[in-house]
Amino acid sequence: MVGALRIAIAEDSAILRDGLVQLLVDRGFTITGAVGDPVALRSSVAQNPPDVAVIDIRMPPTFTDEGLRLALELRARHEGLGILLFSQYIETRYAADLLADDAAGIGYLLKDRVADVSDFVEALERVAVGGTALDPEVVTQLLGATRRTDSLSVLTAREREVLGLMAEGRSNAAIANALVVSEGAVEKHVANIFAKLDLPVSDKDHRRVLAVLRFLES
């Protein structure tokens, strides 16, 4: 990586904002702006473009989905800007809006995830380089809501685990790490899953995520 990752933060809770800044600075990131509302983030991103914007979904003035709308707007305006949405609740519909056309450089995490600092930082870095980071909760909800249960039933338990981790946006190496197996074993599982579900094979992680998500949503 060339230089420190540059991060902008929009979070209306001062405690959390300060905590995030502390954590990220501690980890060697550069903070380009830490603000409490969408308007301030918009100007901060325009003046001092970051690699990733970490955005709280519920922000003033209405405390509903300001962050989500801001994220969609920033993505349209700043190509290549990574977005990590950050919320205390997971709404599957928000994930669907966010991933409508592309999963590259998108993250959607529960705020709780910052408690596991290295996982959180890893997700942030993934988003920064154009990867995807979906909260396990999003994946669980998608798996729970999918109508493809017939197709999924042909997968083994391990394959289903791998499918979930793929949907979160993890690379083969990360999946191998999480499941404590070799990367070769993961590759075999992935190949099996794609064959069984009849999905288009893709080498890019974020395309793979999209393929899996499309499958679950259809």
């Binding site: 209306d12 809770s13 405690i15 959390l16 300060d18 905590g19 995030l20 502390q22 954590l23 501690d26 519920r58 405390f63 205390q88 705020k111 709780d112 910052v114 408690a115 596991d116 600092v117 290295s118």
Partner: protein
């Protein structure tokens, strides 16, 4: 009868050896003159003619309406074994409602009854129509109105008619009309035989003219009597049903309650989301950072930094506990478990303005009422602390029969208002809504310059 001429006009009447003295004061004289004036002028004002028109139009409409409703209802009842019959019955009731509306329109100046609320689906609609109280009351009105109209035509309208006939008798010499009142009158005066033109020409004409004049001046009042009874029937049968009005006010109270509890839940969610949840996330984050710092090579642990993180996490945990306690107290004050008096004592003690408390209660209200009383006092004391610039406040809580009366008074600057600002109600208006929801009342007296007195009456059991 020999009137004495004193200052007042005295009238002495001798009847059967007893002398009745009627001293007419000036005021009475004036009143009698006014009465005579009214009687003599009444037929030449617009009102009797309007009433006549109202009566004739209303009667015609009621006659046609009743005939139509009775016919369709009859058909509906005959066919009631099939759905078609019930549908005809429903349509009949629908038209009764419409005719009732027209009658109400004729009478003007009356509130509409509750609008029809049909349930979804054909059978829902059918059921709602058949149970439509407004329509059934309209049917009852038509059933009463038609006989009343017939009587009215025989009595009041024929007075007008006879007056017209008798007054024009000298001009045209035509026979007296055959109306019932006419018939009755001619029975009393058989000798003159008004009907048969056999009496002396001039005498007959003069007597008829005088009688016609009496009828002419009496008719407006008789007609008014009929119209007033009709109005009363319209009011009680076609106006809003008192029961329905009560139901409507209860429905409003229920809506307010539902809205208020939704707002309360939303507030609690917001408090939890912005406060405690954020606190706990920050706390977990700090502990996560501290954990990472400890996981490196023991030689290189930055103990100072770890201590800082743990310290901040510890502070955060304590703050989160305090916030949770406040939120929990907002949901249900634990102090209420020991009774209203104890809970109010806690409130008075916690109040920023020195507050005196006096409680005299014999019975214990239901928990819901106690909670409302508690939140009222809490909100009012908060208002006193925030807005009133008061140096003292007092709370009186007394039982009056089956009512609980709360009086919260402060010696502040006054000028408090019970207004609703936009869609979000002010604190006091919100309280008033809450109090109304249980049929209670909130009164506010707050002149500029103070003092402010808020009185809340709550039923002991709701």
């Amino acid at each position: 009868m020999t009137p004495d001429s004193t200052e007042d006009s005295n009238v002495r009447v001798r009847i059967g050896g007893r002398e009745l003295s009627m001293a007419l004061t000036e005021e009475q004289t004036l009143r009698m003159k006014a009465l005579a004036h009214t009687v003599l002028h009444e037929p030449f004002t617009a009102r009797p003619w309007k009433e006549l028109a109202f009566f004739l139009l209303g009667s015609g409409l009621a006659g046609v309406g009743l005939a139509f409703v009775a016919f369709t209802m009859g058909a509906g009842v005959v066919l009631a074994v099939t759905v078609l019959g019930l549908a005809i019955l429903a349509l009949s009731l629908r038209s009764a409602r419409g005719i009732g509306g027209l009658q109400r329109g004729l009478a003007r100046a009356m509130h509409d009854p509750e609008p029809f609320l049909g349930r979804p689906g054909f059978f829902g609609w059918l059921g709602s129509r058949l149970r439509d109280r407004v329509a059934w009351r309209s049917v009852a009105y038509l059933a009463l109105k038609v006989p009343w109209s017939i009587l009215g035509v025989f009595v009041a309208f024929s007075l007008w008619w006879d007056a017209f006939v008798l007054l024009t008798l000298p001009l045209f010499g035509h026979g007296g009309g055959g109306s019932p009142v006419w018939g009755l009158v001619s029975n009393f005066f058989p000798a003159h035989d008004f009907n048969g033109f056999n009496g002396g020409g001039f005498t007959r004409d003069l007597a008829g003219f005088v009688l016609g004049a009496i009828f002419f001046f009496a008719a407006p009042w008789v007609m008014r009597g009929f119209v007033n009874v009709d109005r009363q029937m319209i009011r009680s049968l076609l106006g809003p049903d008192p029961m329905a009005a009560r139901v409507r006010s209860l429905e409003q109270a229920r809506t307010q309650t539902v809205d208020a509890s939704a707002a309360t839940l939303r507030r609690i969610e917001r408090d939890l989301h912005d406060g405690t949840q954020a606190q706990l996330v920050a706390l977990a984050m700090r502990l996560g950072m501290a954990k990472e710092k400890l996981e490196v090579d023991p030689e290189h642990v930055d103990l100072e930094r770890v201590r800082e993180l743990v310290d901040a996490a510890h502070r955060g945990a304590k703050e989160a506990i305090a916030e949770l306690r406040d939120i929990a107290r907002g949901i249900h004050p634990p102090a209420l478990d020991i009774g209203l008096e104890g809970a109010l004592a806690t409130l008075a003690a916690r109040s920023a303005v020195p507050t005196e408390l006096s409680v005299t209660m014999q019975a214990r209200p239901t928990p819901a009422i106690e909670a409302i009383a508690y939140f009222c006092v809490a909100e009012l004391l908060a208002n006193v602390a925030q807005h009133a610039q008061a140096s003292r406040a007092s709370i009186f809580c007394t039982q009056q029969g089956s009512w609980l009366r709360l009086v919260v008074r402060d010696d502040g600057t006054g000028g408090a208002q019970l207004t609703t600002v936009g869609s979000s109600s002010s604190g006091l208006a919100g309280l008033a809504d809450r109090v109304h929801a249980v049929d209670g009342q909130l009164y506010l007296v707050s002149p500029p310059g103070g003092p402010t007195v808020v009185t809340v009456d709550l039923p002991l059991a709701s």
